[in-house]
Structure formats: structure tokens, C-alpha cells
């Protein structure tokens, strides 16, 4: 990927102090907090003990938790592959792919915060849940759902869109000509599959699969709701427990966090090696022609049947539960027309209520975080220049680091760093801390979008400007900035939508008297009215999805 950017000539005069500023900024925001986690885990009681994290692992209980995380990751990769692969084939190689709305709809499961989705599944599948109320005979099956299988199913249904998009795109890039060449030389279908399609897909599949794996072991929402109910504890849920619930054990939490961090970095490393080995040039100068199979008869039925089933399970079931619950007057009375009320929405949306405050806090914080993130992102991208120097490349690497590191590890690091007794800047327990955490979490999105815009600016434009005697600032203001704006806006929107529904950071760093929509929903599940929480879920997911759909329509996120 990087090769692409190297050509783009952003040749502003190199002010090395600005580069240094960028490095210092990223160091303070991202690198130092992570180092604090590692340090704390190897120095549990003030003395250096490099083996401390491993000692924690020798506790059989904690080793089980580690193993649970890894096993869960493996199963979810398998699950989401089984879901995504047929869908990718249908979309890339059959007439089903002509329906562009499918792509938008298929992103919905991924945009649904996992804690809400799994709560929906719980309410649907539990004894006397919605499934039993609609189809009483399912009562024989539903108890089996509350097992590792159910957890894998929920997480796979949440994460498969990732894999689907990656697989579909690379299937589309394998032009029909390659397959035809294979056929001409006498290969049958399975031979083609084995020798042409699978090797070409493998590189991007491995990338997608590892992304899913890392996302799974870094995921907090599903383990915190569904996992707790079936007694399946993983690293993230235990880190949260050790840091936020009595008896507190920061030593154990940081050890588990270091292990999680190590596992993620290891898997990313493996991924880069594998995808480098299986990289083929499929984008040639020749025109591309796709072989699209028309669907007729039973094939059409099977194809569309699959699509509909997938949508039913990934969107239908959870959203049915969420919406039904949000409309229930009495939860004990189940599904009945007489039991429908809009009172929860009325309470939520009456200005001044707790829910209303949480919602406006969410929007306000997300807007601040998004603005700060794009400002920092733009600054950083400008300093990355042509990626020739090591310092420029490390700027790139560090700014993308939060995408690789599980959110909960970053939060633990940020708390350790900003709440340290020697820290002169007291921002812990204030709004600034929340905004800072969101910015660190989502900086990679801004950087990526802005970088994409920047890479398309031709260096000639700047040279032309210079020829006409423009000063550097004028060049920036009149040439660079206008051309960067699409990327800046896309980054702003992305950061805004995901900050508005962020759970784990919000749970851990919000100041005492403040709630955002995600923590509001979570605390309604724990302490208050589930119906009210679900009403909030509908409102906040509805709002963020709307933003994304509009964004998609405008083509701002089309690559």
C-alpha cells in the first residue's frame, strides 16, 4: 500500500521541528501509555521482574481465560468465514451483486454495537423469550444457544461484514480472463478453484481473517453481556473486572493487558508475512471483465434464500428484540398488542431527562473528538511527507497503532499515564480525558482518510504555485487544504459515528456525574430499565446509521 503514497509529492519545505512535534505528540498520546502498561506489568511491586506477566499466566484460572480468548477468536474466524464466503461469491459473481443496497444493508450488523446486539439475542433466545413466544416449539432448541456456540454465532454475525467486503473486493479483482485462461488450458471447475481462485484469494483472506481474529479477542461488549451469562470469561472482560470492580488488581489487569497486546501484535506480524508471500498483481493495465453468472430457477431460490437467511439472523433477530423490548409496557407480559407503549421514547427524548443528557453528551463529545482527531490527523499527514525518512515512517506507524491494539489496553495505559501521581496536567476525571481517549482510539481513521486524499495531490500543483511566487502558507491554504478537505470530512464523520457509540473507553474514563449513550444503555441493563436502554439503543444506532447511509450515498467513503 505504501508504494502508492510514495509517488504523491507533498513537498512542503521540510521543517524538522514540526516532524519532531508530531512524534512527541504521538509519543505522549499513544506510545508512552502503552509502555506504561508494559512497565507496570513487569514491575508489579516496584521491582523489575520481567517474568511477572508469565507468572500471572501460571495461575490456572487466568490461563483458562487466555485460552478462552484465543479459542473464541479461532471459532469466530471460522464462523464468519462460513457466513461471508458464500455471500462474497454471490455478490461478486452472480446477478445478486447488482443490487447495490445489499452492501449498505450488510454493513448494519457491523455498525450495531455488539453489547446491544448480544442483548437482543439474549432476549430472543432465553426461556420464555421472544422466540418461544412466537414459535413455542423452539423451546427445545433455545437452551442450547446459551453456550460457546451461541457466543461464536453472535460474534460471527457481527463481524462477518468485514470479511465479506474484503473477499468480495478481491474476488472482483480476479478478472474473468484469468479463469478463462485456466479453462482454455483444460482445467475443470475444481482445478480452477484450487489453482487459480484460492491462491489469489488467500492473501486478502488471511488479512481479513486476522482482522476478525484480533477484533474478536479485543471485543468487550459481547463477553460483558452474553459471555458473563454463560460463564465464558475472556481477557477483555477480566481486565475490565480487575480495573473497575472490587477487589481491584491493577497488577493482574496490566499483565493480562500486556498478554493481550502481545498476542495482537504477534498475529499482525504473522499476517504481514503471509499476505506478503501471497501477493499477486491482479490489477493490470488490461481491461477487466467479470464473469457474472445469471441466477435462474433453483439457483436463484438458493442464492436469495441464503441472502435472506443471513439478513434475518444478522439484522432481523437482534433488531426485532431491541425494538420489541423498547416498546414494551410491562416486560412480564411479553409480546402482545396491548403491551405496546411509546412511553420509553417519550421519557428518553424529553429534554432534561437523564437519557437526553446522555445523548447530547455523546453527540457533543463525539463532535469534539472528531474535530480534534481530524486537526491532529491533518497535521500528522502533512508531516509524513514522502515517507522516505525513518521518522516519517514511524509517524505513520504510530498513528495507526491504536487500530492494532485492543481498546481496553489503550484505556488502561491512558489511565495509568494521566492519573499517575506525578502527572502535572490534571485531566483525569474531566471531559478532556474522554475526548483525548476518543481521539487516541480513532486517530487512525482520520489519518487513513486524509492520507488517501493527500496521496492523490500531484506535486506539480505545488510546484506551479511556487513558480508563481507563493509563500508556503499560501500554498497550504490555497492548494493543499482545499484538496485535502474530502478526506478530512470523511475522517470527521467516521470518527464522529464511532465515538458516539464507544463503550469500553466511556465506561472507564467518564467523570463521575456524566453518562453517554453507550454507558447509559449498559447501566440500564445492569441497574435500571432494560426497555429504556433499548429505546436509547434504537435512537443512537438509528442516528449513526443514518449518518453512514447518507455518507455512503454521497460516495464520500467509496474507495
Amino acid at each position: 500500500m505504501k508504494n502508492l503514497y510514495r509517488g504523491g509529492g507533498l513537498r512542503l519545505p521540510a521543517f524538522s521541528w514540526r516532524l519532531q512535534l508530531g512524534l512527541i505528540l504521538l509519543g505522549l498520546l499513544i506510545v508512552v501509555p502503552l509502555i506504561m502498561v508494559l512497565l507496570r506489568s513487569v514491575m508489579p511491586d516496584g521491582r523489575l521482574d520481567a517474568l511477572a506477566p508469565l507468572k500471572v499466566m501460571s495461575d490456572p484460572g487466568l490461563f483458562t481465560i487466555f485460552w478462552n480468548s484465543i479459542a473464541l477468536g479461532g471459532w469466530v474466524v471460522l464462523g464468519s468465514t462460513l457466513l461471508a464466503l458464500p455471500m462474497a461469491f454471490l455478490s461478486a459473481r452472480t446477478t445478486i451483486g447488482r443490487h447495490a443496497w445489499l452492501d449498505v444493508v450488510l454493513i448494519i450488523p457491523f455498525m450495531t454495537p455488539p453489547y446491544i446486539g448480544s442483548m437482543g439475542w439474549i432476549l430472543f433466545m432465553q426461556r420464555r423469550g421472544f422466540s418461544e413466544q412466537i414459535l413455542p416449539m423452539t423451546s427445545h432448541i433455545t437452551p442450547y444457544f446459551f453456550s460457546l456456540f451461541g457466543m461464536v454465532a453472535i460474534m460471527s454475525l457481527h463481524l462477518f461484514p468485514f470479511l465479506y467486503l474484503i473477499l468480495r473486493n478481491s474476488l472482483m479483482r480476479i478478472g474473468g480472463s484469468l479463469e478463462e485462461a485456466g479453462s482454455v488450458h483444460g482445467g475443470n471447475f475444481f482445478y480452477l478453484l484450487r489453482r487459480v481462485i484460492v491462491p489469489l484469494l488467500l492473501g486478502s483472506y488471511v488479512m481479513g481473517a486476522l482482522l476478525v481474529f484480533v477484533k474478536t479477542i479485543a471485543e468487550f461488549g459481547t463477553p460483558a453481556t452474553f459471555g458473563r451469562q454463560i460463564g465464558y470469561y475472556v481477557l477483555t472482560s477480566e481486565i475490565h473486572r480487575f480495573t473497575s470492580s472490587w477487589p481491584i488488581d491493577f497488577g493482574k489487569a496490566t499483565s493480562l493487558a500486556s498478554i493481550l497486546l502481545g498476542a495482537c501484535l504477534l498475529f499482525w506480524y504473522v499476517q504481514t508475512i503471509i499476505s506478503r508471500r501471497y501477493q499477486y498483481k491482479t490489477l493490470g493495465g488490461k481491461g477487466m471483465r467479470l464473469r457474472i453468472a445469471p441466477l435462474k430457477g433453483w439457483r436463484a431460490i438458493a442464492g436469495w434464500g441464503y441472502v435472506l437467511l443471513l439478513l434475518l439472523f444478522s439484522i432481523g433477530v437482534p433488531y426485532f428484540s431491541i425494538i420489541a423490548t423498547s416498546l414494551q409496557k410491562l416486560r412480564g407480559d411479553g409480546l402482545a398488542w396491548g403491551n405496546v407503549t411509546l412511553a420509553h421514547y417519550a421519557e428518553l427524548l424529553s429534554p432534561g431527562s437523564k437519557g437526553w443528557q446522555a445523548l447530547s453528551n455523546s453527540l457533543g463529545l463525539a463532535a469534539l473528538a472528531a474535530t480534534a482527531a481530524v486537526l491532529i490527523g491533518t497535521f500528522l499527514v502533512l508531516q509524513m511527507g514522502n515517507f522516505k525518512k525513518i521518522s516519517q515512517r514511524s509517524l505513520d506507524l504510530f498513528s495507526l497503532l491504536p487500530n492494532t491494539v485492543p481498546g481496553i489496553v489503550i484505556v488502561v495505559g491512558l489511565i495509568l499515564f494521566w492519573n499517575a501521581p506525578w502527572m502535572p496536567v490534571k485531566i483525569y476525571n474531566t471531559y478532556t480525558m474522554v475526548v483525548l481517549t476518543y481521539v487516541v482510539f480513532f486517530l487512525p481513521y482520520s489519518v487513513q482518510y486524509i492520507k488517501a486524499s493527500a496521496s492523490q495531490i500531484d506535486g506539480n500543483l505545488l510546484q506551479a504555485g511556487k513558480v508563481f511566487g507563493a509563500k508556503p502558507f499560501y500554498l497550504f491554504r490555497r492548494i493543499m487544504l482545499p484538496l485535502l478537505i474530502p478526506g478530512v470530512l470523511a475522517g470527521w464523520m467516521m470518527t464522529f459515528t464511532i465515538s458516539a457509540r464507544e463503550l469500553v473507553a466511556s465506561l472507564m474514563v467518564l467523570p463521575p456525574s456524566m453518562q453517554v449513550s453507550a454507558t447509559y444503555i449498559f447501566s440500564q441493563f445492569e441497574q435500571g430499565e432494560v426497555s429504556l436502554g433499548m429505546a436509547m439503543a434504537v435512537v443512537s444506532v438509528g442516528m449513526t446509521t443514518l449518518v453512514l447511509v447518507v455518507m455512503n450515498q454521497l460516495g464520500a467513503d467509496r474507495k
Binding site: S245, W246, G332, N419, Q456, E526, G528, M551
Partner: protein, 373 residues
């Protein structure tokens, strides 16, 4: 190269549309995101709400108190309480004294966790826990300070105030057996009934690491029965009793009918669900149960000490006590009776000693978690 230029042209076209979106969005933000904007300008410490609400202070309603009430300021309260009650108390206090309450609502476990995490830079003034032994443990570790002059403290139930006035049991809940009236026609009458195969797989118990009251029941029961008590919990585990989060998380499946019974759940949640019309009811076991006073205490490090004292006074005032009974909790003061629930003197208690429970709490919690996880 051609492709790149083409897409950049598309982007160029699309960004105008995107800009329109942003203008629209920012309009929306201005309309409903007022809080966030304020937060920014006020990011150095105090909550945004503080500036708004302190201006409405009403000096005319000053209480009878030795100390002149400070004209403004804030008090930071960490409370493990029913959220509705905590909010009402906050609003009542703010209206009466014009002091802003910054409040963290959590469970006992989360409040303790937060205090521990902030040990380096403590900010809390008043802490309210749902577990008396946990509060005693905090006092023993020197986290708290006394307030012997608290108004109305002499009217508290016997034993709901410790000897040197650190802990104020301003309200309490009793632990009972809550059941779904649609599913259960013959409710269990005692704890031991729940080991009967009849109740296999349909009983919930709150997680003692999150629910202080559940921990109190477990340790109180063990205190009463001796070490043989663990056999009872082993039998419960064998009978499929599920440990499920904090009190509300344990009760919710019973309301929807996913489970039939929650044991050692706090009674006020059952009463308020019942009052709402949900199909639940509660029984107090024949052999006795635990009543756990919810302890309010002032932190030793309290940055706003005067306000913290006012807050304790307020908790013990008639006004706050009526809010307590309104939330179906047992009032802390012996001279006030609840008319919407069973009162303190009508509930049979197990034979337990708070000191023993406070010492053993952590160990019991760990052992229980290991057994039920």
C-alpha cells in the same frame, strides 16, 4: 494513473455534498449538543452543569445548622444505590442548598473499584455503599472520617450508626426470595427449599463481587451456619443456581420469565417492579435473612468537607427519608415507618456479626466466585 485521477475527480465532486451534510450536522449539534460544547470551555475540572445550577442557590432556605452553609461549590458523591433514588436525593439536595452534586452511580463493587483506582488523586467527598461490611472495611483501612454532630443521627435504627459516627445507615434493604407470580404458584418459604430439584435451573443469585447486598447475605448465612454453610451453596450450585451480574440483572430474567426465582435479591426492586404491575412478588425466608443498612460516609480526603457534612445531614432529614421510603427502601430512622412495604421490625434475621462479615468478606467473595463461575 488514470484511475487515480478519475477517482480524485469524483471525490472532488462528492465533497460538496459532504460539506452540505456537515453544515446540516453541525446545525443539529448546535440544537441538541449544547452540553458537549459547554464541556469544552469548562474542561479544566468542574462539570459543565456546575456553573448553571449554582446560580440558582436559594439562601432563604438555609437549614438549621451550626455552620453557615457555603454559598456555592460542589460535592462529589459516589453512590451504589437505586438510580432513581440517588437522582431524587441529588436533586433535592441541590434545590435545598444550591450546591452542585457530582454523582457517580454504580454498584458497590464499581464504587470501591473507582475509589481504589483514584487512590493517587482522590476526588470523592461522600461515598454511599449498599454493603455495611464493605463500609466497615473502608473505615478500618482509614478511608473515612467521623461526623459526630450529624443532625438526627440519634434517631437511626439501633446498630445503623457505628460508635464514632463514621458510617450512617440512612436506608436499608432486606434480602428475600423474589419470584415470578405467573410461573410460581407455591413460592419457596425458606432458603433450603431452593436446593429441591423442583427449582433446578430456574434460580438466579446476584454476583457478590458486584452486589454488596448479595455478599452480605452469603457472609451472613455462613456466619449463622458455620462452615457447613458452604455445603448449602455447593448444593445450590449443583441444583443449577446461576450467578448473574448485579441485582437488576439477576431480577430482570425473573420478570420476563426466563428464570422463576432470584434468591438474596434486594427487596425494594421487587416492591417497585410489583408496584409497576410486573408479575413478581417477594417472600422473606422463615429461618431469617439479612437486612443491610446502606452506609453513607465522609471520605478522609474529602476536598469539600463542609458540603459533605451538609449532604449527610440531608440524608438523615425528613425530606430525604421520605424519598427513601418512596423508593421502597427501609428508612434509616427508627421514628419513620414505611407504609408501602414490610418494616424492619417485622423481618426475621439470621444470627450474624458485622465484624466477622467485614473481615471475611473478601475471602468469601473470592471463594464464592470460584465456586459459581
Amino acid at each position: 494513473m488514470k484511475a487515480v485521477k478519475n477517482s480524485s475527480f469524483k471525490k472532488w465532486l462528492s465533497w460538496q455534498g459532504t460539506l452540505a451534510m456537515v453544515v446540516l450536522m453541525s446545525g443539529m449539534l448546535a440544537a441538541c449538543g449544547g452540553n458537549g460544547g459547554q464541556a469544552n470551555s469548562n474542561s479544566t475540572g468542574a462539570a459543565a452543569g456546575a456553573t448553571q445550577e449554582t446560580t440558582t442557590s436559594q439562601p432563604s432556605e438555609q437549614p438549621v445548622s451550626e455552620k453557615p452553609a457555603p454559598p456555592s461549590g460542589k460535592v462529589v458523591v459516589y453512590t451504589a444505590g437505586p438510580e432513581g433514588l440517588a437522582t431524587k436525593i441529588r436533586e433535592g439536595f441541590e434545590a435545598k442548598y444550591g450546591i452542585t452534586v457530582e454523582q457517580f452511580d454504580g454498584t458497590t463493587g464499581k464504587v470501591l473499584g473507582r475509589l481504589e483506582a483514584e487512590k493517587g488523586n482522590p476526588v470523592a467527598d461522600v461515598v454511599v455503599l449498599a454493603s455495611w461490611p464493605s463500609a466497615m472495611a473502608m473505615k478500618a483501612e482509614g478511608w473515612t472520617q467521623g461526623y459526630p454532630e450529624a443532625a438526627n443521627a440519634d434517631k437511626l435504627q439501633e446498630g445503623w450508626l457505628d460508635a464514632d459516627s463514621h458510617l450512617f445507615g440512612y436506608s436499608a434493604s432486606a434480602l428475600g426470595i423474589t419470584y415470578n407470580t405467573k410461573l410460581v404458584s407455591e413460592p419457596p418459604t425458606d432458603w433450603s427449599d431452593l436446593t429441591d430439584p423442583k427449582w433446578k435451573g430456574v434460580v438466579n443469585i446476584p454476583d457478590p463481587s458486584l452486589s454488596g447486598s448479595a455478599l452480605d447475605f452469603i457472609s451472613g448465612y455462613l456466619n449463622d451456619k458455620g462452615d457447613g454453610g458452604w455445603d448449602f451453596f455447593q448444593e445450590l450450585k449443583a441444583n443449577g443456581v446461576a450467578m448473574s451480574g448485579a441485582n437488576k440483572e439477576a431480577l430482570d430474567p425473573v420478570i420476563t420469565g426466563a428464570k422463576s426465582v432470584v434468591m438474596s435479591g434486594v427487596d425494594y426492586m421487587a416492591y417497585s417492579a410489583k408496584a409497576k404491575g410486573e408479575p413478581v412478588d417477594i417472600v422473606y425466608p422463615a429461618s431469617g435473612t439479612v437486612i443491610n443498612p446502606r452506609a453513607a460516609m465522609i471520605m478522609k480526603t474529602s476536598p469539600n468537607l463542609d458540603n459533605a457534612r451538609l449532604f449527610i445531614d440531608y440524608l438523615l432529614s425528613d425530606e430525604a427519608q421520605s424519598l427513601v421510603t418512596g423508593a421502597y427502601l427501609l428508612p434509616g430512622r427508627a421514628d419513620i415507618k414505611a407504609d408501602n412495604r414490610v418494616n424492619t421490625d417485622e423481618i426475621k434475621l439470621l444470627n450474624y456479626d458485622w465484624n466477622w462479615m467485614s473481615e471475611q468478606g473478601e475471602e468469601i467473595s473470592a471463594k464464592f466466585l470460584e465456586m459459581f463461575k
